[in-house]
């Protein structure tokens, strides 16, 4: 009897977690062969930028919010924090562009897309609270200008950009927690569902292969190749559309492509 059947909450959670994210999915040492483009590095570049933002943010918080105005080292870390934010958004937007043009939500990956998009959207107010926490002219201007939009929506009644104490706590605690939680969910979903496979090239299908896997290495295919399909005409898709067929699970014995 499994833990879940015995009524153990812990056991049930453990079993579900392990089913969703077995160790070889969490820490894989292989990746699909189609991942052959530099566009794939922008996710991890965004992630490490976030790590640097948090690290420099932690250092800035050690001596309080006015430290960087009077200390050269403090100003250095403020600059570090600013540039890691610029790079974070730079890499994240390129990552978003890449994932959009790959239609990366396919194959049950819509939650991966959604958590990523929401992380981007939550990062924006997180940055805003940072800008108004600088305690300099920039903060004065941004807070007195942006307040109108928030007031117009009623949000200003409980979220006051000009209230430094409130904005600082949102910036160093509440919003980073939200961003990290969303990014963690996003990354775990990527590990769980994997990187989206390429689009099928043609639109026709052999029903016998419907639902089966797709192109293997050129080295090890069995069975006759499918004819190249008629593009666009027949709306019945299937994985085995392209030449090259189902790959047998087993060691690679063929030549390198």
């Amino acid at each position: 009897m499994s833990d879940a059947e015995r009524g153990s909450w812990t056991g049930a959670v453990r079993e579900r977690a392990l089913a969703a994210l077995p160790p070889e999915k969490l820490l894989p040492d292989t990746q699909p062969a189609y991942m052959s483009s530099w566009i794939y590095v922008f996710g991890v570049l965004s992630l490490v930028s976030l790590v640097l933002i948090i690290a420099s943010g932690v250092i800035l918080s050690l001596q309080g919010p006015d430290w960087w105005h009077t200390s050269g080292i403090g100003h250095f870390f403020n600059s570090f924090h600013l540039w890691s934010v610029e790079l974070f958004f730079f890499f994240m937007v390129i990552h978003l562009w890449g994932k959009y043009w790959m239609a990366a939500w396919r194959g049950g990956r819509s939650r991966t897309w959604m958590t990523g998009a929401v992380a981007f959207l939550v990062a924006i107010p997180c940055a805003l609270t940072g800008y108004v926490s600088q305690q300099n002219f920039d903060s004065q201007w941004i807070s007195t200008q942006a307040k109108d939009a928030l007031n117009a929506a009623g949000i200003g009644s409980f979220w006051n950009l000009m209230n430094f104490g409130q904005m600082y706590t949102y910036h160093v605690l509440l919003l980073p927690l939200a961003v990290v939680a969303l990014v963690a969910a996003h990354v775990l979903l990527v590990r769980k569902h994997g990187i989206v496979p390429p689009f099928h090239r043609s639109q026709t299908v052999s029903p016998a292969h419907a639902g089966a896997a797709t192109n293997g290495s050129p080295a090890a295919h069995n069975g006759a190749p499918l004819p190249a399909g008629v593009p666009g005409a027949d709306p019945m898709p299937s994985p085995a559309l392209d030449p090259g067929i189902v790959v047998a699970a087993g060691p690679d014995t063929g030549p390198v492509p």
Partner: protein, 322 residues
Amino acid sequence: MSRASRRREDESYREWKGAYIPYDILREATIALGVVLALVLLLTILFSSPDLPPSTIKSWSRTDPVDFVTTAATELDGSSMSGSYGPPYNHGTGSVQHIGFLRPQQWFGVSQPINSAQDDVLAPLRSITDQPVLQRAVSTYEAAPAKTQAGWTTAYENALAKATTTSSDSVSVKPGSYGPVPTVMGGLLTFAQSGGLDGALLTSKQFYQTNPTKALLFMADGGVLANRAQQQRLLGSQWGMMNETGSYPGQVWLWLYTFWYQIKPFSTSPNADILVLAIMALMSIALVAIPFIPGVRDLPRGIPIYKLIWRDHYRAQHADGG
């Protein structure tokens, strides 16, 4: 494409049962960390970061006493932007926005009460001791009927348009019937120039304060922040939302947000803020919901950038299958 066939196709993308290649996820992350760390260090060393010192009421009242006194007069009669704003500060109507029947600004009410006359002028002046002439002027003003007060402040504000500053940084206007207002304003100006008003506005409620809202609203009602902002290209008409002070790159990701403000009808609408916010909220929801939006979710198929991304894969397939 029928829904069933779309679902079938989508299912076919769920799992990859094809070839894999060796991959070291931790090494990749470590290399990425090194690369980005190097980039950030380079940018930090090359460019540093901006830190323009904040304006204070003290500095404002010294460098532009006429603007300060003019603003203070509008705080006194409640005609300033913050004095007549509306929720969440007070029950004015100067800056209340709505979309159709949606009036969230009013629904949320006055949660951060600000009475500009009391908070910015009268209460700070009452805290000054040993100034009997000033205190009598304040009492005279407070005791007068509202219509009289308005007559004094309006006449004074009109005269301020042609005011001059004296060598001692005080403001002088041509004679007129302004009642005690010039004395009140003179006292406030002196208090501001000494730095006392900054402190009074900050600690009006309690000693430990982290909320400079009153002083910020006072300054924003005048020209001190806007003048600096214009020099720094931060005004709305300069797409300022995207910009940083100096020549630093700013918040490029806000380009679409500020774009709406530049075009009609938003550029001339009194409800611009709530309208733009509503549009951006809808577009943000749309961004999240792309997987479910017909057309938008199909564009990557139609504009085949994917053929470039996966060209190695397609080439390998082609070589294999013929």
